[in-house]
Amino acid sequence: MSMKASTRQVDGVTIVDLSGRITLGEGSVVLRDTVKDLLGKGQKKILLNLGDVSYIDSSGIGELVSAFTSVRNQGGELKLLHLTKKVHDLLQITKLYTVFDVKDDEAAAIGAFSK
């Protein structure tokens, strides 16, 4: 049920590899703390890899939105990578798919960040 987040740096972009469920409770907190920590360190180009995220509920969607606006408000960029079908469908249904910058290829996603 829990969620794991690990970070790595590629060409000035911080990639956050998330796995598990982003739901009310632990999953949402892990995402929130990770993004807060990165912003605190001045890392404002963030790529959330959701390839191993099996499930997101309304609280998790709220956390993604919060991460997106926090990063943007600090002059940074947040993009999403490798959505599973479930997560993709959920973002479509909630009309957030076009709000987020969603990518399928990691190298292309990194290249899409402003230099």
Binding site: M1, T23, L24, G25, D57, S58, S59, I61, G62, E63, V65, S66, F68, T69, K86, I93, T94, K95, L96, V99
Partner: protein
């Protein structure tokens, strides 16, 4: 076809109850004959209903409980009743309106309505009762008969 069944639970106002309800829903919806995709949607609707009850209704109050009931037959009827102060669903802003898209909350009721055929709210003396209904389609009924 399986005989109509009804089962009720009285749950604590905790996150564990939300997770437990979601798991039970998947099992019950499977036994009722719903396919995997539909089950996922029903389980999400129940999860959102439980979050509504535990978080917004009972506010994690250990003295308050959530009553969860499943009825299966030609349709699955799930009722979730909390003991909170109640709310007016019509007053919840439309989460798809452009000005609300970037709000962090307010999508639970919308998701329930997305995945269920019918969603009803009823004010109780103390609290709110949410009724979630999903009807079996003809191919689901075939699956139900095949599993019995």
């Amino acid at each position: 076809m399986t005989a109509p069944q009804r089962v009720s639970y009285r749950l604590e106002s905790t996150l564990e109850s939300v997770n437990k309800a979601e798991e039970m829903t998947d099992q019950i919806a499977s036994q009722a004959g719903f396919d995997e995709d539909t089950r996922g949607g029903i389980a999400m609707a129940v999860r959102e209903g439980m979050i509504n009850a535990v978080l917004h209704g009972n506010a994690y109050d250990p003295a308050k409980r959530v009553n969860l009931t499943f009825e299966t037959g030609k349709e699955l009827i799930v009722t979730i009743a909390d003991e909170g102060k109640g709310f007016v669903p019509e007053e919840v802003p439309d989460p798809l309106a452009p000005e609300n898209l970037l709000k962090e909350s307010g999508r639970g009721i919308f998701l329930m309505r997305t995945f269920m055929d019918e969603v009803r709210f009823r004010k109780l003396n103390s609290g709110t009762e949410i009724t979630l209904i999903k009807r079996l389609q003809n191919n689901d009924l075939g699956r139900q008969e095949a599993s019995t």
